[in-house]
């Protein structure tokens, strides 16, 4: 198939970027989206042009490295799919595909489609952990946890930290990410000891970094590749209220 790509190119963080169009022939429907970009880059290199910089690692939807705002949606049109899992079967022959980096003041573009998402690491460093001595894994049934709580904690823990929530939120809010991290620990007895301190510190860091405030719009949930629900944001709000009074 033949496609027309419109891609954001930016040499460096300081450079002024812009869109560049590419006509790409010989794309196979069986390709993944990232393979299509690999193919584009091979043609660019053959033509002595700079390849398009984009982030990727595991290519199986679990590392959270891939991003890309594809045709107006984070991770493209498939729904509950990371960009690396997206296939070219989602696109018609001859169609135009617009590829942009995540847009957020807190995620500055480093080069082309790569943004600096270290703000998420800073939020986790502020409190997204349990201060317990590590050692041998404890016996699994020594602390009983209700099935529904374990399930909910797991639903939150599958967040890969890709940043699609921030990218899709009209307010540029990171609340779904922070809520998922707060929830996964708040729901388990091991996380309760530091729950109050954790939510205060993580919210404070989120605000300090410059993310927007949550308007309960729901765009993050609709675009999250892992289907994380905004009911976790309600839990964060409860935890914050409980920690404040």
């Amino acid at each position: 198939m033949k496609i027309k790509l419109k891609i954001w190119r930016q040499e460096s963080a300081e450079a002024k970027g812009g869109f560049v169009s590419y006509d790409l022939e010989g794309v196979s429907k069986e390709m993944s989206f990232l393979e299509m970009l690999d193919y584009l880059n091979s043609t660019l290199i053959e033509g002595d042009e700079e390849p398009v910089a984009f982030e990727h690692d595991c290519r199986e939807g679990i590392c959270g490295c891939c991003s890309l705002f594809i045709n107006g949606r984070p991770h493209g049109p498939a729904g509950e799919t990371t960009t690396c899992e997206l296939r070219m079967t989602q696109f018609e022959d001859g169609s135009e595909i617009v590829i942009e980096p995540w847009r957020s003041r807190v995620f500055p573009v480093i080069r082309d489609l790569i943004v600096d998402r270290s703000a998420f690491d800073k939020i986790l460093q502020a409190g997204g952990f349990i201060s317990a001595n590590t050692g041998a894994a404890p016996e699994a049934n020594s602390i009983p946890i209700a099935k529904h709580k374990a399930d909910e904690a797991f639903d939150a823990a599958i967040c890969v930290g890709c940043g699609a929530c921030v990218a899709s939120c009209p307010n540029g809010s990171a609340m779904l990410f922070v809520a998922a991290k707060v929830s996964q620990l708040a729901l388990l007895p091991q996380g309760r000891a530091e729950a109050k301190k954790r939510v205060r510190k993580m919210v404070a860091k989120m605000d300090e970094l410059g993310f927007g405030a949550c308007g309960n719009i729901g765009a993050c949930e609709a675009e999250c590749p892992k289907g994380i629900k905004i009911s976790h944001i309600a839990r964060l709000n409860r935890e914050f209220l409980r920690a404040s009074i």
């Binding site: 949606r73 807190v106 919210v203 927007g212 729901g218 905004i230 309600a234 709000n237």
Partner: protein
């Protein structure tokens, strides 16, 4: 407390709680308005009681404070939200899951404030500080609020503005009620749909309930 109000989540809680307070106020306001249908004697008596009862008068500063808090904190958050996304996307095609109202609460809020300015200058401020014709009911001399309201409701432009404003208010409430409940933490996967339905039902009742009165009195004025 400074940590609470210094955090976006704390500020959102202020917006949510003040919003729910205003939601309750609108119910009272609507019930009072609906007494217009019972005729001048009932409405004027209710309006007189509202304007003289110490408990009701005592609530006025609380209402003003709630409204101002809701507006000021929302505006502050909206401005900081704009700063969080300095560059827009070339193409946006959201998956759904978010309503038009939820993405435009700030614009809806500004429209409601503008209407509120007109509304207050037409009724509340005139009733409190302005000169209004007096009427005697059951031996008590009181301001003729009924005449003031029905005269306004005979003006086509006022009725049109009022009706449009109620549609905008309805949209603001359709998202606002469920959003406030989510913000104060009263939400989970079971309650989500229930709150959304309740918020929508409340918004429709309030918007239709308020808008029906000027339309009714306008039609009545045209027919007489």
């Amino acid at each position: 407390m400074s940590t609470f109000l210094g955090a976006s989540v704390g500020r959102k809680l202020v917006v949510g709680i003040s919003g729910l307070f205003l939601v309750l106020f609108l119910v009272v306001h609507l019930v009072v308005n609906l007494t217009l249908l019972a005729g001048p004697e009932t409405y004027n008596t209710v309006a007189h009681w509202m304007g003289t009862n110490p408990a009701v008068l005592g609530m006025r500063p609380v209402l003003v404070l709630g409204l101002l808090l809701h507006i000021a904190v929302s505006m502050y958050l909206s401005v900081s939200n704009l700063r969080a996304r300095p560059r827009r996307y070339l193409k946006v095609d959201p998956a759904g899951g978010s309503t038009w109202a939820s993405r435009n609460m700030f614009i809806l809020g500004v429209c409601i404030i503008l209407f509120l300015a007109l509304h207050l200058s037409s009724f509340s401020i005139r009733m409190t500080f302005g000169s209004v014709d007096m009427v005697e009911i059951s031996g008590v001399l009181m301001k003729d609020a009924y005449a003031l309201v029905t005269t306004r409701f005979s003006l086509w432009w006022y009725v049109s503005l009022y009706s449009v404003a109620m549609v905008l208010l309805g949209l603001h409430l359709a998202h606002g009620v469920q959003s406030s409940l989510q913000t104060i933490g009263l939400n989970d996967h079971r309650w989500r749909e229930r709150w959304a339905s309740l918020g929508l039902a409340y918004a429709v009742v309030v918007a239709v309930g308020f808008a029906i009165l000027p339309i009714y009195f306008f039609v009545q004025a045209q027919m007489s």
